[in-house]
């Protein structure tokens, strides 16, 4: 399929839009009518055709605009991309993984021609045609991690593994749900997760770490996480909280359907072959409430999940103050009918809204 890339912004006039195609393939994160933390991992080996799970690195209609937004963030704050000195090899691993995956999964958009260490990379949507020497940094305009992640949607944390622990030692983080690479750089797994409520007591992180340490080459994994964002902002960083935090107070009953977005992260985990580091891509998908409720099952379910979510989680995810407004809006789309299990829209089998 040829993708039509949107001309759109994630700031100022917020012209970001999801097409019908993008709405139907949105990674809705709730498989039942309630939500609680779980490690919820599964293998990342494809998925239904056309879904965001199908390819190793999903490319969609927002690609070109997202990369433009990343460039703006980096121009204002170069510390959003960092790599400690021992992580350069992991950067090359990341570059190789993304180039090989994209050229195989999207041959009409990306090409990789390798002649020994002499590599030619063609990125048609971004108009790039570059020949370089693999493992020779002097042949790239910037480090390998920065080079390739300026051309790949989503954030990328690169975790060094040593002494049975993971360390946040490199990353490209410009589309984050309120955490900072510059703050977390060098931290271990428990340190950077310290702010998360409830999960520590539940033993979630101990189990998650054990799982992640054992992710093996050739067997990537994935999970979903979610939060809420007012306006389609990719960059909801602590560094810029003064710019976007205040926007949370602009919701009204009239604008909530278009302004309030569900923000879903498709998190994947790859063991990198040369460095033995763990690559943690965090791909952000945004959808406006008014688009979610066009899928009757999702409208019903989102209302129930938000209504019944424990207060600590609504606070941590930053929407406790707006929850009453969200529920007023979403309750219009919940007729009390049961929902089918699983995350898929089930448009052919789920009844339309009965009110």
């Amino acid at each position: 399929m040829t993708i039509q890339f949107n001309e759109e912004t994630f700031r100022d006039d917020y012209s970001f839009r999801n097409s019908d195609w993008a709405i139907k393939r949105f990674p809705f994160p709730f498989h039942e009518d309630s939500y609680m933390y779980s490690v919820n991992m599964e293998q990342h080996r494809g998925g239904p055709e056309g879904s965001v799970y199908e390819k190793r690195f999903d490319v969609d209609e927002h690609y070109v605009s997202e990369m433009r937004d990343r460039a703006i963030v980096l121009a204002e704050d170069p510390l959003r991309c960092q790599s400690l000195p021992h992580m350069t090899l992991a950067g090359w691993d990341t570059l190789e993984l993304i180039m090989v995956s994209k050229s195989e999964d999207y041959p009409d958009l990306f090409e990789l021609h390798r002649d020994g260490d002499r590599w030619r990379w063609i990125n048609k949507p971004m108009g790039i045609d570059h020949t370089f020497t693999f493992l020779d940094e002097t042949t790239l305009p910037c480090g390998p991690l920065e080079y390739i992640t300026r051309q790949a949607q989503g954030d990328f944390a690169v975790l060094d593994q040593r002494n049975d622990m993971l360390y946040m030692d490199a990353g490209m983080i410009t589309t984050q749900a309120d955490w900072s690479l510059d703050f977390d750089i060098g931290m271990d797994f428990f340190e950077w997760h310290a702010p998360v409520p409830l999960a520590h007591e539940m033993g979630i992180f101990k189990r998650a770490l054990k799982f992640l340490l054992n992710i093996q080459q050739g067997a990537p994994a994935r999970r979903l996480n979610w939060t809420m964002t007012v306006n389609p902002l990719l960059d909801t960083s602590p560094e810029n909280y003064h710019k976007w935090g205040v926007q949370k107070s602009t919701l009204t009953p009239e604008n909530i359907g278009s302004k309030q977005h569900l923000r879903v992260e498709l998190q994947t985990f790859y063991r990198l072959p040369r460095s033995n580091a763990l690559l943690f891509p965090i791909r952000c998908y945004l959808i406006a409430f008014q688009d979610i409720v066009t899928i009757p099952k999702w409208g019903r379910r989102l209302h129930r999940v938000i209504r019944d979510l424990p207060e600590e989680l609504a606070t941590y995810k930053g929407f406790i103050d707006n929850r009453p407004k969200m529920l007023d809006y979403l309750s219009q789309y919940d007729d009390g009918l049961p929902t089918s299990p699983g995350v898929w829209p089930d448009l052919d089998t789920e009844p339309p809204l009965q009110k």
């Binding site: 039942e32 021992h86 992580m87 060094d160 054992n214 072959p273 995350v343």
Partner: protein, 328 residues
């Protein structure tokens, strides 16, 4: 995403290979080289990684881990070097006696439990005997990346100094070989004494050597995290015993020459594993009930866990007694 939680998969991903060369190196050690049957390049691997080789020995499946010792930058082949163990359970004898060039075999994707610490300013390798193998890949890697290293390699005799000549001639100033039969020994204390800050030490060899290095380094004030080791244990034979697997609802017998993990697999129960040598932790299993004595042999559980009787690593550990019930 599916709603169902996922079971840990048993073992790493597999690669179908063909034996492309068998190179006897001395009386005890032979190198086996593999190419891929699908003609694709091998995945790159990180130095220190091992592969688990599947052997079909007259209908009995053996799975043994071996360090990858080929150059990680060469995707055309993987190589392992196998020391013949006449007293062992038969995996190395199978490799030495039954495997022929051209045979199809199955090996696992690389798994690394002994990686280089890439922060290291310098890497000091201490090898004993067949423990040289992971360092072959590490040396190739560091040579390519321009990293600082030195090797101290203890062997029984010149005749059994696997790769000693090759290493010495290639890297005369970095390789130091010590022969037992000439009463040469690694002067470990002196060696640790003169190292620059940021040096990491890696040891691979017999258990006694590993303990000696850890103890000596600790006594000289080295931080634990700068001293790395790898030792694969081979499961040891023992008295047969009976185990109840309560989730699978079957009772199985573990024979004298098979491990508990192998017995579980033989009975058709899928159990997670990776290294099969007591190091990786994947096969950790909860004990539901036990009346008897555990023979813990793994490096994974700590002393308290061993003493608790609540967990067992079925790849290398055994049990003697009346009743053992596992959550599997």
């Amino acid at each position: 995403m599916s709603a169902a939680p996922q079971k840990a998969k048993a073992g790493a991903e597999k690669i179908e290979v063909e034996v492309s060369a068998i190179v006897p190196l001395n009386d005890l050690v032979t190198r086996f080289e593999f190419t891929r049957r699908d003609g694709q390049p091998f995945p790159p691997f990180s130095a220190g990684a091992h592969t688990v080789v599947e052997m079909n020995d007259d209908g009995r499946t053996r799975l043994n881990p071996y360090s990858l010792m080929s150059d990680p930058a060469d995707p055309s082949k993987y190589a392992i070097s196998v020391r013949r163990d006449d007293e062992g359970r038969g995996g190395s004898l199978f490799m030495h006696q039954k495997v022929k060039v051209g045979d199809p075999m199955t090996i696992s994707y690389p798994v690394n439990l002994f990686p280089l610490d890439l922060r290291g300013r310098k890497h000091v390798f201490l090898a004993g005997g067949i423990g040289i193998t992971p360092f072959m890949a590490m040396i190739a890697h560091l040579e390519r990346m321009g990293g600082a290293w030195e090797l101290h390699y203890a062997c029984r005799s010149e005749a059994l100094g696997t790769y000693a000549d090759e290493l010495t001639s290639r890297h005369p100033n970095k390789v130091h070989v010590y022969y037992d039969d000439k009463k040469q020994a690694i002067a470990l204390e002196d060696l640790l004494d003169g190292q620059p800050l940021g040096t990491h030490v890696y040891v691979c060899g017999p258990q006694g050597m590993i303990q000696w290095v850890h103890k000596t380094a600790a006594a000289h004030g080295w931080p634990d995290e700068n001293v790395h080791s790898e030792e694969f244990l081979a499961p040891q034979p023992g008295k047969p015993f009976e185990v109840r697997l309560c989730k699978s609802d079957i009772t199985i017998q573990v024979g004298e020459h098979e491990s508990l993990l192998e017995a579980i697999e033989r009975c058709g129960v899928e159990a997670p594993f990776l290294c099969r040598g007591g190091a990786c932790g994947q096969c950790e299993t909860d004990v539901v009930e036990a009346d008897g004595e555990f023979i813990h042999r793994d490096h994974w559980l700590d002393d308290d866990e061993h003493a608790s009787g609540k967990k067992i690593m079925p790849c290398v550990s055994r049990f003697v007694g009346k009743t053992l019930v596992l959550d599997r």
